[in-house]
Subunit: 339 residues, 2 copies
DNA sequence: CTGAAAGCGCTTACAG
DNA sequence: CTGAAAGCGCTTACAG
């Protein structure tokens, strides 16, 4: 393997000094180089297949052109890929490359990883969690511009990008009310958390906005998987005054609602409307009927977070909470109730 | 923001020369430094929170400690995250960091991305596609050690890591035969391809191994989505001599088989056994009954590819095709046929 | 309009 | 056992 050409090789071939090559190839502002010289330099660079060495350049300029993506669990959910892809795309568009690290939620590993990333001179970091929750940034990140992704800081003024859970829930309820529903249930997770709290707030506020009374019996807490959704739906459907529509905390719970409905001969959407949350890959589209749901905009969140980080690197101030809308995806599980 | 400490700062604090600091911190082999000196150096480094600059180091050593992960479509499938995560983990274990780039299958963008990665001095590349297919490596990659991931090279001797499709299919058929099935259908994709070809070969060879005749009517070609699976199953179930078991090309087709069976009052697994392929996130576990399927070992593939690449960087020869086993995940859709 | 020189922060033979 | 010096490949004031 022959050695890669250096700037000096290009300079010699073009018959100029290395500094001139640098100025030409970087289009350095304010530098005056004759057009003919520029052409010769560019031709020489192309001929040699010259690729500048970012290390040498970074050593002088103190810029690496790289950003860190630090995730607690990169895979395990189909969302992670979208988050990463969105961030990568926006980084690329701004001329940055992404360095990826997965900490598995291990604090020790995380510290070593951040150290390694800082050695590599990353200019900033995206700190991502795989579902919306509150986190404390590790100390090693101090002094490195950082934007949180799908996570909110326990304290501090850092920029963080999260789904607009409340507006999403409001839109789901709005859709159901618009279709004519008045008894709308909310099937939610057992535990509190940033996502479920805001979704419930959206559910309640939208009901109130329409002058609909909040019936506590229509809010059921269960485990946020399909079995939990099935149990919750069973309670609701077997009650004396069942709801005509169910809004679920996530799509997996909606799967359970489908099962409970099928077991009782309750048809979706004729007898019961269902709206989920997340737009879980394949699942929501493969249910019969397709599940109407609020999409979690992971790709868009990744893009926004990278852009916000780059804006800070360019001298901008942290912008605090950045809410990303969750679009309604209509598929067929929500329809007008029986007359 | 105060400047990061340099090696000179550590040297001054410890009262030694920078070269001594380097030798101590890198545990340079064959260097003799007094224990007390070592302790002083380490203490000074810790006190200052010294993190060596990889650029300066890389400029001298010509090693960056980074690997490229080049993907055609990073997200869009839940598998991508697993592939990336596996690669990242194995890279990390060997002291490498991963730089990520998504080309969206755009050749021009790919070329620019590879150039950017080479500028960043990546030592090698993982070239990943999001499903098993044959690819031609772009020219810009010439001279950079590269391992293909979930892809096979159209030509050349590069190392590539792919699922053992044929063995997976054989194991699926083996499981069905073991349960007592004799009429086993294969529902496959319309088009040929590395994955489907090998799965069919496995299906046929395993039947033959058990002395079972291949009935062409039991091999149905359809679009590889749930609607296609449903149509294929309809044909099979409505035939005069329907199969007692169906092996599908992927899990989405299996969803369709479930639907066709339900529509006909055919119970799974009592009346019909089904085995899928892929172990698609959530889908396979959320079907009722849970889908027995062959898992695509993406995480493991990512790990293997990164390890193979690192082995080449360490002077090893390319190893050609690396097959990764697809484990059988038993969930409940395969059972003995009616007596 | 172009070139010579210094320096970014390390590592590595080499001297002593 | 430890230090001085050169050099990795760039960029950037500065001279001319």
């Amino acid at each position: 393997m022959t050695r890669r050409p250096r700037i000096r090789d290009v300079a010699e071939l073009a018959g100029v000094a290395p500094s001139t090559v640098s100025v030409v190839l970087n289009d350095t502002a304010g530098a005056r180089v004759a057009g003919s010289t520029r052409d010769r330099v560019r031709a020489a660079a192309a001929e040699l297949g010259y690729v500048p060495n970012s290390f040498a350049r970074g050593l002088r300029t103190r810029r690496s052109g790289t950003l860190a993506f630090i995730g607690d669990v990169i895979a395990t959910t189909p969302y992670a890929g979208e988050l990463i892809q969105g961030a990568q795309e926006a980084a690329w568009e701004a001329g940055y490359l992404l360095m990826l690290v997965n900490t598995g939620g291990d604090a020790q590993l995380e510290e070593r990883a951040v150290r390694a990333l800082r050695r590599q001179q990353v200019e900033g970091a995206l700190y991502a969690t795989m579902y919306h929750r509150a986190v404390t940034l590790p100390e090693v990140l101090d002094g490195l511009p950082t934007v949180l992704l799908d996570a909110r800081p326990v304290s501090g003024t850092a920029t963080f990008v999260v789904p607009d859970e409340q507006a999403g829930a409001e839109d789901a309820v709005e859709e159901l009310v618009r279709l004519g529903h008045r008894r709308i249930a909310f099937v939610r997770d057992l535990h509190d958390g940033p996502a479920v709290d805001r979704r419930q707030r959206g559910y309640e506020s939208r009901l109130a906005a329409h002058g609909l009374e909040l019936d506590e019996r229509l809010v059921v807490r269960e485990r946020s998987d399909s079995a939990g959704g099935e149990r919750a739906a069973a309670v609701l459907l077997d009650a004396p005054d069942p709801p005509t529509a169910v809004f679920t905390f996530n799509d997996q719970m909606a799967i359970g609602v489908y099962r409970a409905a099928a077991a009782r001969g309750v048809r979706i959407p004729q007898d019961l409307s269902v709206i989920g949350f997340d737009d879980l890959y394949v699942v929501s589209s493969e249910l019969t009927p397709g599940l109407t749901t609020m999409a979690l905009p992971h790709r868009e969140m990744g893009r926004l977070a990278a852009r916000a980080l780059i804006a800070e690197l360019d001298g901008g101030e942290p912008t605090g909470e950045q809410l990303v809308p969750c679009p309604l995806v209509r598929r067929g599980s929500a329809a007008p109730p029986h007359p």
